[in-house]
Symmetry: C3
Subunit: 133 residues, 3 copies
Amino acid sequence: MRQFSVATQRSEEFVDITGQVAQALAESGLKEGAVLVYSPHTTAGVTINEGADPDVKRDMLEHLRSLVPNSADFRHAEGNSDAHIKTSLMGPSQLIPVSGGSLLLGTWQKIYLCEFDGPRRRSVLVQALAAGD
Amino acid sequence: MRQFSVATQRSEEFVDITGQVAQALAESGLKEGAVLVYSPHTTAGVTINEGADPDVKRDMLEHLRSLVPNSADFRHAEGNSDAHIKTSLMGPSQLIPVSGGSLLLGTWQKIYLCEFDGPRRRSVLVQALAAGD
Amino acid sequence: MRQFSVATQRSEEFVDITGQVAQALAESGLKEGAVLVYSPHTTAGVTINEGADPDVKRDMLEHLRSLVPNSADFRHAEGNSDAHIKTSLMGPSQLIPVSGGSLLLGTWQKIYLCEFDGPRRRSVLVQALAAGD
């Protein structure tokens, strides 16, 4: 089990954590299997999507905001139910296959920590899992 | 592989299954790795979110209902396409890292079975996966 | 690690890949653990849902299109931000428990490659993970 932290800068943003995950994988020594990237938070998730054009991140965040506006009729006293819902829509984790000691991400894929209620210091857990074949 | 069942009480609800998952993990004897919590159903998923304030669950269910109303123009004859869609939005499973024999859930995280077409008896499968580092 | 490819036929469709995943699992020789089904693409994901009535797939695709219309106010120059968002909503992968060498899918569950920007040739990675109990 490895862990790193990310200081997010905005109320909502996608932070590319691919480099930190690759580093944690290298430290684990795993050659074949998969790597679990896990957010132990309830208002920040993890997704995988395009890293080349920053407008993709922007469009994703903007559209999630329109699907789950924080002005909706929510009861949760902290007033951040929108952040909780967006976290479950993206999911709290992603699992990436590993072969030859490398993350098998596609050409355009990056791993993002999805901040929905920042800025905050967030933890990310990285667990290497063994292949079974 | 362990398995337990949950008798849901309503047409839609989030049932906290964290205790049953922790019990299944203890029985497995796994010390390092991750635990897969899997719903073998197509109208009930699994998510992880806040457990402290019950209004979070309420707001999540309510907002999912507004995003996927069962009054939408669906063709599926059983009339529960909304439940199928919400299941895929939450996902049929979650994977939680394990270290020292414990679930590494964050302070506020609970594991929920998401019932979207109840009440029914639901099964949950729990598979312990080995660390590779 | 196994891999197969799928030639999708439409701009958007859910392609049942359960047979190819079962075949990859058989080749891996895994008896106990789980199988990771991973899309290395940013406009095609993986989900699990009902396979009996084709109207479920149709209703899911149609409703996702209404939640994320490609006419939304997007900036990404390629014009397919809707496909990126739908991919993150479904997720790029699914993890299915394995016991006795078989996928523990529920009675009605099928594994779908979710094409959101086709038709294209897509790759699917299948990684067998070892049980830890």
